[in-house]
C-alpha cells in the first residue's frame, strides 16, 4: 500500500500524536495503559449493574443447590432414602453442586444479558464503540462471568456444607490446587457464557438453558464420582464431553479428596483444553457478530 500523503493544512489545535504508529484493531495484541483503563471501566459497568441486583443474584445462585443439598443430604438420610446410604454421600455431592452452580451462574449471567444486548436493545452497538479492540470487549465478558462464577461458588460452598445433615469432610490438602481448580471453573463458565450469549437468540435462551442444564448436570458427575460409572464404560467415556465433569472431579480432589476422583493431570488438562477452545471460539464468534 502506498504511504499516506503529507497533510496539506497544518493542524493548529490538534495535539501532535505522532511517535509510535502501531496499528491496533484486529492484529494488535495486548492493551496499552489507556486501553487497560477502558477495559477496567467495562468491568466497572458490569459490576455496577451487578450491585443493583445483589439480592436477585444471591437468590438465583443459592436456591437450587441449597434445596438439592437439603433434600439429598438432609432429608433423604432422615427418611432412609436409598441414594444417601453411602456413608460419604455429602462429600460426593457438595463439590459437585458447587461446580455445577458456579458454571451455570457464570454462563447465565454472561449469556442472557449479552444476547439481549445483541438482539432486542442493540446496546452492543454502543458497547463496541469502546476504545479497546473487539477481542478485549469479549474478554471482559469472560472475566466478568468468571467473577460471578467465583462469587457463586463462594456463596454456595458454605451454604451446602451447612444444610447437609451428615458432616461434610472438607479437607483442603493443597490450597494451590483449590485455587487452580476454582480459576479453571471460572474461566470455563465465562467462556461458555460468551459462546452461548453470542450464538443463541434471546427468545431461544429459555430453550437453550433447559436443554443444556439438565444433561450437563445429570451427566456432569455431580451426584456421583466419575469412577462410579465403571459398570457403564460407554457412559464413562461419553460424559467426558461435559466440562462439568472435570470441575466436579477437580473440586472433589481439592475439597473432599477422600472420594475417588480423576487424576490431576486429566481434569486440569481436559478442563484447560476445553476452556481454551471455548475462549477462541467465543472471541471469533463475537468479532464476527459485532463487525458487520
Amino acid at each position: 500500500m502506498t504511504r499516506s500523503s503529507v497533510p496539506t493544512v497544518p493542524a493548529q489545535n490538534q495535539p501532535t500524536t505522532t511517535a509510535a504508529h502501531v496499528p491496533d484493531g484486529p492484529q494488535g495484541v495486548g492493551l496499552g495503559p489507556l486501553q487497560l483503563r477502558s477495559f477496567l471501566a467495562l468491568l466497572l459497568r458490569d459490576l455496577t449493574v451487578l450491585r443493583r441486583n445483589v439480592p436477585e443474584f444471591a437468590l438465583r445462585t443459592l436456591l437450587q443447590p441449597v434445596l438439592f443439598s437439603f433434600v439429598f443430604a438432609y432429608l433423604f438420610p432422615r427418611i432412609g432414602q436409598g441414594l444417601s446410604s453411602q456413608a460419604n454421600f455429602a462429600d460426593v455431592l457438595v463439590p459437585g453442586l458447587v461446580a455445577v452452580t458456579a458454571v451455570f451462574c457464570g454462563v447465565s449471567t454472561v449469556s442472557l444479558p449479552l444476547a439481549i444486548e445483541f438482539g432486542a436493545t442493540r446496546e452492543i452497538e454502543d458497547r463496541i464503540m469502546a476504545p479497546v479492540p473487539g477481542w478485549a470487549i469479549a474478554t471482559e465478558k469472560i472475566v466478568f462471568g468468571a467473577v460471578q462464577s467465583l462469587a457463586a461458588g463462594l456463596l454456595v460452598l458454605p451454604a451446602c456444607v451447612l444444610t447437609s445433615a451428615t458432616p461434610v469432610n472438607v479437607e483442603v490438602r493443597d490450597p494451590a490446587l483449590l485455587v487452580v481448580v476454582a480459576l479453571l471453573a471460572c474461566w470455563i463458565s465465562g467462556a461458555l457464557g460468551l459462546v452461548v450469549g453470542t450464538v443463541v437468540e434471546p427468545k431461544r435462551m429459555g430453550l437453550a438453558f433447559s436443554t443444556l442444564i439438565v444433561p450437563l448436570t445429570f451427566f456432569g458427575c455431580v451426584y456421583y464420582p466419575w469412577q462410579a460409572l465403571t459398570p457403564l464404560p460407554w457412559l464413562k467415556v461419553a460424559v467426558l464431553a461435559n466440562p462439568v465433569v472435570y470441575l466436579s472431579e477437580g473440586l472433589r480432589a481439592a475439597l473432599t479428596p477422600s472420594v475417588p476422583h480423576m487424576s490431576t493431570a486429566a481434569y486440569l488438562g481436559a478442563g484447560t483444553a476445553f476452556a481454551t477452545a471455548m475462549t477462541v471460539l467465543g472471541l471469533r464468534l463475537f468479532q464476527r457478530r459485532v463487525r458487520l
Binding site: 496499528p23 483503563r37 471501566a41 455496577t48 446496546e123 452497538e125 476504545p131
Partner: protein, 316 residues
C-alpha cells in the same frame, strides 16, 4: 500503512465500497468533512447512509476504498478512531441497566477519565442537556426527546473531535428537534466536526455547511445547500393541487417553456422552472382543465434538488 495523517479533514472517505454478500450498500463514494465543519448525508431509505457512518465509526469494515477519521485509518487503527469520535446510532443504544447519570459517568470512565473528572463531567452534561431532574431514573422511562438528548450527551462526554449522528431527530416533535439543533450548534461552536444523516431537508440546511445527497449507494451531488440549489437549475417551484389531475397530463406541463422538472405528487404536480415567477401564469393556464384547488410558488429546497436529480421524493 498505519500512519496518522495530521487531520486537515475530520473525515476523509475515498472510493469507499461496502458489500453485504451480493448486495452493494455503498458503491464507491468520496467525501471530505473539514475540521470544524458540519456535513449532512441526505438520502432516502436504503441509500447507504448508515452503512457509510458504520464504516466511519469502525462498526463495519470497508470492502474497498479508504476511510480516515481524525487522521486515523478506520481499517487498521480502529481503537484510535473510536477514541476520537462520538457516535449516536439510529437506534437507542442507551444502557437500560443503568440510570441516566450512570450512563454518562460510565461512558466517561470508559474513555479514560478518573472518578472525579467523570463525576464533574456528568453533572455538567446533565445540566447542559437539561436532564438533571431525571438523573436517577432508568433510560427506559425517558421521553423520545430526552433519550436523544442523553444519547448525544453521552456521545460527546469524552469531548470527541468528530461527532457522528445517524438520524438524530427522526421521530421527535418539532420542539424537541429545535432544542436538539441548538445543542448541536453549541457543539459546533466548540469546534467539534459533525457528520449527520437525515431525511429532513430543513435540518440539513439549518445545521450543515455542506450536504451530500446519496441514493443507491452513490453520492449524487455534494456542496453547500445554496450551491446545490443553484446548480439544479430550478429557481422557482410551483406546486399545484388539482381537483382532477388526470385532466392535465404531465407531458403537457413538461412541454412548457422554462419548465425543468415535473413531479407527480398526491393530488397534483410540483413543477420546477428556471424563469423566476414570470411564467407561473402559463402553468396556471395549462392546468385549468384540472380545476386548481391550491397553488403555491416557492423557492427551491434541497428536496427540489433531490427530485430534479432522481425524479423521486426523499421521504418514501
Amino acid at each position: 500503512m498505519a500512519e496518522r495523517v495530521e487531520p486537515s479533514t475530520a473525515v476523509s472517505v475515498s472510493g469507499l465500497f461496502k458489500r453485504y454478500g451480493p448486495r452493494t450498500a455503498v458503491a464507491g463514494i468520496d467525501l471530505d468533512v473539514g475540521v470544524g465543519e458540519a456535513f449532512a448525508l441526505l438520502g432516502p431509505n436504503g441509500a447507504g447512509k448508515t452503512t457509510t457512518v458504520n464504516v466511519c465509526t469502525t462498526r463495519s469494515l470497508p470492502s474497498g476504498g479508504r476511510v480516515r477519521v481524525a487522521g486515523w485509518d478506520v481499517a487498521s487503527q480502529g481503537v484510535r478512531v473510536r477514541r476520537d469520535i462520538g457516535v449516536v446510532t439510529q437506534h437507542n443504544t442507551l444502557d437500560r441497566s443503568c440510570s441516566v447519570e450512570q450512563n454518562l459517568y460510565l461512558h466517561c470512565r470508559l474513555f479514560g477519565m478518573g472518578h472525579r473528572s467523570a463525576r464533574t463531567r456528568t453533572v455538567e452534561l446533565l445540566e447542559t442537556f437539561r436532564l438533571a431532574s431525571r438523573a436517577r431514573v432508568d433510560p427506559t422511562r425517558l421521553s423520545g426527546g430526552m433519550v436523544q438528548r442523553l444519547q448525544i450527551a453521552r456521545a460527546i462526554a469524552h469531548r470527541p473531535r468528530v461527532l457522528f449522528l445517524d438520524e438524530p431527530t427522526t421521530g421527535l416533535d418539532p420542539q424537541s428537534r429545535l432544542s436538539l439543533w441548538e445543542q448541536i450548534d453549541l457543539l459546533r461552536r466548540e469546534g467539534t466536526s459533525v457528520l449527520l444523516t437525515t431525511h429532513h431537508m430543513e435540518e440539513a440546511e439549518r445545521l450543515c455547511d455542506r450536504v451530500a445527497i446519496m441514493d443507491h449507494g452513490r453520492v449524487l451531488v455534494c456542496g453547500t445547500p445554496d450551491a446545490l440549489k443553484r446548480e439544479c437549475g430550478v429557481d422557482t417551484v410551483v406546486a399545484l393541487t388539482l381537483a382532477d389531475p388526470s385532466a392535465v397530463p404531465a407531458a403537457r406541463l413538461s412541454a412548457l417553456a422554462h419548465v425543468r422538472s415535473v413531479d407527480t405528487v398526491e393530488g397534483g404536480y410540483r413543477i420546477g422552472t428556471t424563469a423566476g415567477q414570470a411564467h407561473v401564469a402559463q402553468i396556471v393556464t395549462a392546468a385549468l382543465d384540472g380545476t386548481i384547488l391550491h397553488l403555491s410558488v416557492t423557492e427551491p429546497t434541497l428536496e427540489t434538488v433531490f427530485i430534479t436529480l432522481t425524479g423521486r421524493e426523499l421521504r418514501d
